[in-house]
């Protein structure tokens, strides 16, 4: 019988008898598990060994136990010659019963928690001075009854208050004591019905503070906590998209048809699952996508559906295509530089789970539950992400990867951009102002805000007057593989005493980011030279909207002159070169003629 068979049989009933049977069947399989020496201390009768052994075995741990004598936990922790020390435990589990610790409760007296907590700190410190073995403390269950009766209603302290105060104190201690951890028995008992946890027969017959019928539930939590200490947590969650991260098939429904946001079922269940995924991310778990989908469409879904909790940037890696998922997961592992065994893979398709499990047995692959309302609780129940403490590095990890991705994307864009520009085959066509293009020139002068160096709103009459006085007004048309963009830029040049001043320079935002402005400046420099100018000057007059062209002049070799807004460049001294991927129609004669 394999371990999986044994646990399948156990889980059919989950009774104490079934645990006893499972324990016997597991004994011969100990050598395939990690050995662990576990000491059990308690201030009451706490015979959890068999059940805990089975739950540890479920997590790959073969435990050897030392059970301390009844209520010997203080002596064991204090005495350097104790049986506990001789046992040399790897882990110590402590269970505390409130009625045993405070017998006066039965008589209706509620003591202060502080004194007990102080003495417990001393016990922990004494143990810590002799051993680094972690302590796992099951916190106090509320007492079975309270002889204060309803006095708590009038503000008197109750036995319940004492329990809560003790448990808070224990948790505080765990916060600053290395290798001290709390097993949240109280929360578990309260969530599952405290009554069943207290069996008065067992208390009076054997001083057992917790009913053994609840040992399976408690042992699961204790074993989970202990295992989390000795096993590294998974580092990365790899997710499918369709019917996992959102409801529906993106390829069929489109970005607006997928279910992932809002208050209606099942979209709200998917949104909650996404929030649960984000919660893991805030605990330092890296997120990645492995989906058979059209990558551009999936990117678009994240771009358009800003109403869903997850964003594209939350994912440290992205494998969206029609290739096999085992290969996708391998690439994710190598790019994120993590082991396959620290990856959890979730998919709604059982075939994908089977394929990944077969090809990459180290990956922890799980099929999503049947229904979306089970998704978030399913994720919460996965022990693979169990962490007992969170370091600052854990908290920062996802952001660090996000930053790295941005840098990689920018570097990739820098090399790709050039081939993109070349692929456009852009042609810049300068035209002198004329009847034919004057309306469009005037319109651009009135409308253009972002790439507009001076934002001077000259009207047609003013422009005509300037041209009559010797200024040159140029319109620029652009054409590329996609067709003719029409007139996209305007420049107005004034000439005086060996100098050419750019009064107006603007460009439509439709063609920003394609280095057309460099080609235009190159053309203007040649024009100025052709007219005999020795220097070219320009101004940048900042407005709330024209930030995009703030650095145009310094980026093209202009130097700032004294008044701050005016920029100057010597003409034909290291002339502005037209980018290789743009051709300017007509002849550039200016500099060559000098």
């Amino acid at each position: 019988m394999t371990r999986a068979d044994i646990f399948a049989e156990l889980d059919r009933s989950g009774t104490l008898a079934a645990y006893a049977a499972a324990a016997r069947k597991l004994a011969p399989l100990a050598q395939e598990m990690m050995p662990l020496r576990v000491a059990i201390l308690a201030n009451h009768t706490f015979d959890i060994e068999t059940v805990l052994g089975v739950e540890l075995a479920r997590r790959g741990i073969a435990a050897v136990f030392h059970q301390a004598g009844y209520d010997q936990y203080r002596q064991e922790l204090l005495n350097p010659e104790s049986e506990l020390d001789r046992f040399r435990p790897d882990a110590v589990l402590i269970s505390l019963d409130i009625e045993s610790a405070f017998p006066e409760l039965a008589a209706g007296r509620v003591p202060e928690a502080a004194e007990w907590l102080e003495s417990f700190d001393a016990l922990v410190a004494a143990w810590r001075s002799r051993s680094r073995a972690p302590l796992f403390v099951c916190d106090f269950l509320p007492s079975a009854f309270d002889m204060q009766g309803l006095l708590a209603a009038g503000g008197e302290p109750s036995a319940f208050d004492l329990t809560m105060e003790l448990n808070r104190g224990l948790r505080r201690a765990a916060g600053f004591t290395p290798n001290l951890f709390i097993v949240g028995a109280a929360a578990l008992a309260c969530a599952t019905g405290l009554e069943g946890w207290r069996d008065r027969r067992m208390w009076y017959l054997a001083r057992a503070g917790i009913s053994p019928k609840k040992f399976p539930a408690l042992a699961r939590l204790a074993a989970r906590t202990i295992a989390a200490f000795f096993r590294p947590a998974a580092k990365c969650l790899v997710l499918d998209l369709d019917d996992t991260l959102w409801g529906g098939i993106l390829g069929d429904a489109g970005p607006n048809g997928i279910l992932c946001a809002g208050s209606d079922y099942p979209a709200n269940a998917y949104a909650d699952f996404q929030r649960a995924v984000l919660a893991l991310r805030s605990r330092g778990i890296l997120l990645a996508v492995a989906s058979k989908n059209d990558s551009a469409l999936a990117e678009e879904a994240f771009e358009q559906r800003r109403d869903m909790p997850l964003r594209r940037r939350h994912f440290a890696d992205w494998e969206v295509h029609w290739g096999p998922k085992p290969e996708s997961i391998q690439r994710i592992a190598s790019r994120l530089n993590i082991g396959l065994d620290s990856i959890v893979f979730l998919d709604n398709n059982p075939d994908e789970i089977a394929l990944v499990s077969m090809a990459l047995p180290q990956v922890r692959a799980y099929r999503m539950p049947e229904r979306p309302e089970q998704f978030a609780t399913f994720l919460a129940s996965l022990e693979d992400f169990d962490q007992l403490r969170l370091s600052d590095e854990d908290r920062r990890r996802p952001e660090l990867y996000e930053l790295r991705n941005q840098q990689v994307a920018m570097a990739a864009a820098a090399t790709d951009l050039e081939s993109f520009y070349r692929s456009l085959g852009t042609v810049l066509i300068p035209e002198p102002a004329s009847e034919a293009n004057m309306d469009r020139i005037a319109q651009l002068i009135q409308k253009t805000n972002q790439f507009n160096l001076t934002t001077r709103r000259h009207d047609k009459a003013a422009l005509a007057a300037r041209m009559a006085a010797g200024s040159e007004l140029w319109a620029f048309r652009a054409r590329d593989v996609h067709g003719d963009h029409g007139i996209i830029a305007v420049a107005l040049l004034d000439f005086a005493a060996g100098s050419c001043a750019i009064d107006t320079l603007l460009m439509s935002c439709r063609v920003m980011g394609r280095t057309l402005e460099t080609a235009i400046l190159c053309f203007l420099e040649h024009r100025a030279a052709a007219r005999g100018a020795r220097e070219l000057t320009g101004e940048y007059l900042p407005t709330p909207k024209n930030g995009p062209c703030r650095d145009l002049y310094p980026q093209h070799g202009f130097r700032r002159s004294d008044d701050g807004n005016r920029w100057t460049k010597d003409i034909c001294h290291s002339p502005i070169l037209c980018p290789e991927w743009i051709s300017i129609e007509g002849e550039l004669t200016g500099c060559a003629t000098i």
């Binding site: 009774t15 104490l16 008898a17 006893a20 017959l205 054997a206």
Partner: protein, 75 residues
Amino acid sequence: MRDDLKQVLLDVLEVNSITENDSSRTIPTWDSVRHLRLILALEERFGVTLDADEIPSLNSVRAILAVLRRGAAAA
């Protein structure tokens, strides 16, 4: 002895054979701690609840059989 009862006794007491004549006197592993384990396993397995005063006296297979028969008759 019925098989389902026998299996619980074998597993909880960790023995390989048991008869109706056995008791805590004949089986060394049947100590006071194991006794409570056994009682709770039987309660759960057979859906009975035993009184505190009869639990200590159920330290033989025969006594257990009697109390389970009584439970079956009551049901």
